[in-house]
Symmetry: C2
Subunit: 338 residues, 2 copies
DNA sequence: TTGTAAGCGTTATCAG
DNA sequence: CTGATAACGCTTACAA
C-alpha cells in the first residue's frame, strides 16, 4: 500500500492538517515541525495523490489545448510552450485535436469542463472560430485564451504576433533588394493574421510610393498546393513579378516548386519569401527567407495568462503582441534584369 | 452548484448506489429504474466528476506518452493514434516531452506514476532506451508499451513496423529499375529499426546475387544535415552510386539537396529514396519515393495493448509487427548510362 | 502554531 | 435487484 498523508502524520507525530500545511508551503508551521514532517515524507517515500487533491480543491490543475488542422510544426511548438508553462506551475495539459465545428466535438469539450477534467482552455486557430462554443464556455465561467486567433472582434483574451509589422519589414527588405513587382499570396480571407500581413505588405508599398496592384495578389489556404498554384498563376502573367511573398512558409515551399516547374532559376530569376519560419523553411533548397513567428513564446504567454485567470488574478493585459523578426536566407536575391 | 450523484438519486427517488450502477452500465438494475435515473440525469444536466471517480477507483484513467527528439511528424502521428484510442476507451493522455536520460526527467516520470496521475506509459524511441527507468516502472508495477523501440533485447511489450521487409522491398524495386550501385545511408548504430532496415537492404542484394559493398554505406543520425553530408561523401567517390537509399525521409531530403549542390540532376543523374513517408516526402521536389511506416496504426496498437494490460487482460501478443509498404514517387528513375 | 472533524463526489461492501 | 454506510486521500472551517 502506498503511504498516505495519514501515515506521514503518524510517523511524524503530528496531525494530518500539519502535513497538509507543509505540503502546500503554508505559513504557520514551526521550522522544526516542518523538518519532522519532511523527514517522515522522505522516509516513507510519500507522494501526494493528485486525484484526491483535485477532488478536495474542486480544480483539475489541468488545461486543455485545442487544435485542428494546424500545421504540424505550429502545433508542436505550441505544445512545447504550453507544456513547459503548465509544468512550471504544477498543471497538466490535455491535448485535444478536434474539429470544433462538429457539434460532437464541441459537446465533448464542454463535457471536459463539466467533468472537471480541465479548468480552462488554450485555443489555436482556427478552433477559436467556433464562436458558439466560446460563448458557452464563457457562460459556464470556464476561462480560455486564444493563440494567434483567427478573428479578434470579440473582447476575449488572446496572444498574437506582430504580423503586420513583420510583413512590412519583409516587404521593405524586398524593395531594398530592388524588387518593384512583388507578387503576394495571401491567406484565407477571414483570418486576422493573414489580413494583418497583407496590410503590412501594403503599408510598405505605400511608404515606398508604389501602387498596390491587385493583379499581383493571389489567395491561398496556407497549404503547400495552394502556394504552388498561386505562384504558377503569377508566373504565367505577361509581366510576372520578380519575387513571390507568401502568407506562410508552406505556400512558399509550394511556390518554390512552381518556379522550378516553370523552368526558372531560384532565386536568380525569381525570388520567394515566406512567413513563420517553420523547419521546412530550412529543408527546402534554397533555404527560405522568411519572418520568424515565435510560436513557443506565444504559447507560453497564452498559458501564463490562462493560469493567472484560473487563479483569479488579473493578468497585466488581456491581449498581448509578441514581436516577429526577419530571417534572410537563400531564396531571395536582387531582381534579374535582362 | 453543479448537480452531484446525490441530487440525481434524490430526483429519481433511488439511492446513490443505484445511480452509480446506471452510470457504469452495471447489471442488476431494473429497466424502469434505469430509465428513471437516466431521466433525472438528463433533467439535471448531471455530468460525473472525474476526479472523484479517479480517487474512488484508485486509477487515473490516463496514460502518459513519452517522447524525446522524435521528428515532429512522427510524434504528431503517434499522438493522434494514442489520443484516438485512449478517447475511445474513456482514457485521457498526458503528453510528456522529456529527455529520459536526465535523471530529473526520469524522476518526474516516476513521480507521475506515484501521484496516480497516469496508470501507464507509451514510450517512443529513443526514450525507451532508458533501461533503468523502465526497470523502475516494472518494479513499481506500472505497465508500459514501447513503440518502434530503439532496442528489443528485453522482454518488454512493444509494437513495431516490418522494417526489414520494407527495406528489402525498396531495394528490390531499385534493383528492378536497373541500379546495381545502391548507396545506403544507415541510421544510428544502436537503433534496432535502423539495423533491421540495413539488414533488409543486404537481404535484397544477396538475393539478387550482388556483393554487399561497405564503401557504398554511410551512417547518419536521421537528421537532414546528416543525409546531406553522407550523400555528399557518396557522390564524391571515384565511382559514385546511381541511387542513394536513406534510413529515413529527412536524411533523404538532405541527400536531395546534396545532389543539387553537386550540380547533378535528380532523378536523371542520381535517384534518392527514403523511408517513413513523412509529409516532407511530398513537399520536396521531386517528391520522394519511400516506404510508408504507418505510425498512427502503430501508436493505436500500442495504446490498445497498454489499456488491455491496465485492465488486467492478457493481450493476444506482447509484441506486434505492422506492415509497411512501398510508395513510388518521382525521386527515383532508372540509372543514367553514359 | 497545531489539531479536530466535516466535507469533496465517486465507488465498494454487504446486508436486505 | 436495491440501499445504507463506509471508504478513497486530501483540504478546510473552526477550535484550541
Amino acid at each position: 500500500m502506498r503511504p498516505t498523508i495519514r501515515d506521514v502524520a503518524q510517523n511524524a507525530g503530528v496531525s494530518i492538517k500539519t502535513v497538509s500545511r507543509v505540503l502546500n508551503d503554508e505559513p504557520y508551521v514551526r521550522e522544526d515541525t516542518r523538518a519532522k514532517v519532511l523527514a517522515a515524507i522522505n522516509e516513507l517515500g510519500f507522494v501526494a495523490n493528485l486525484s484526491a487533491k483535485r477532488l478536495a480543491k474542486g480544480q483539475a490543475f489541468t488545461i486543455g489545448l485545442l487544435f485542428h488542422n494546424a500545421s504540424w510544426h505550429y502545433i508542436l511548438d505550441a505544445q512545447r510552450g504550453v507544456l513547459d508553462t503548465t509544468r512550471a506551475h504544477g498543471y497538466s495539459t490535455l491535448m485535444h485535436p478536434c474539429d470544433v465545428a462538429r457539434s460532437l466535438d464541441a459537446r465533448e469539450i464542454l463535457a471536459q469542463a463539466s467533468q472537471r477534467l480541465v479548468d480552462g482552455f488554450v485555443f489555436t486557430p482556427p478552433a477559436d472560430n467556433a464562436t458558439q462554443l466560446l460563448e458557452n464556455l464563457e457562460a459556464m465561467g470556464v476561462p480560455f485564451v486564444r493563440m494567434t486567433p483567427w478573428e479578434r472582434e470579440r473582447e476575449w483574451p488572446y496572444v498574437a504576433a506582430t504580423d503586420r509589422a513583420g510583413a512590412r519589414e519583409m516587404t521593405e527588405y524586398l524593395l531594398q533588394l530592388g524588387h518593384t513587382r512583388i507578387g503576394y499570396v495571401r491567406g484565407p480571407a477571414d483570418q486576422k493574421a493573414g489580413a494583418d500581413r497583407h496590410d503590412g505588405y501594403r503599408d510598405a508599398l505605400a511608404t515606398a510610393g508604389l501602387r498596390y496592384d491587385p493583379d499581383l495578389v493571389r489567395q491561398g489556404d496556407d497549404q503547400f498546393e495552394a502556394g504552388r498554384e498561386a505562384a504558377c498563376s503569377l508566373l504565367g502573367m505577361r509581366e510576372p513579378p520578380t519575387v513571390i511573398f507568401c502568407n506562410n512558409d508552406e505556400m512558399a515551399a509550394g511556390a518554390c516548386v512552381a518556379v522550378r516547374e516553370a523552368g526558372l532559376l531560384l532565386p536568380e530569376d525569381v525570388s520567394v519569401a515566406g512567413f513563420d519560419d517553420i523547419p521546412l523553411a530550412r529543408q527546402v533548397w534554397p533555404a527560405l527567407t522568411t519572418v520568424c513567428q515565435p510560436i513557443y513564446d506565444l504559447a507560453a504567454a497564452a498559458t501564463q495568462m490562462l493560469i493567472e485567470l484560473l487563479n483569479g488574478q488579473t493578468p497585466p493585459a488581456l491581449s498581448i503582441e509578441i514581436p516577429t523578426h526577419l530571417i534572410v536566407r537563400a531564396s531571395t536575391a536582387p531582381p534579374h534584369h535582362n
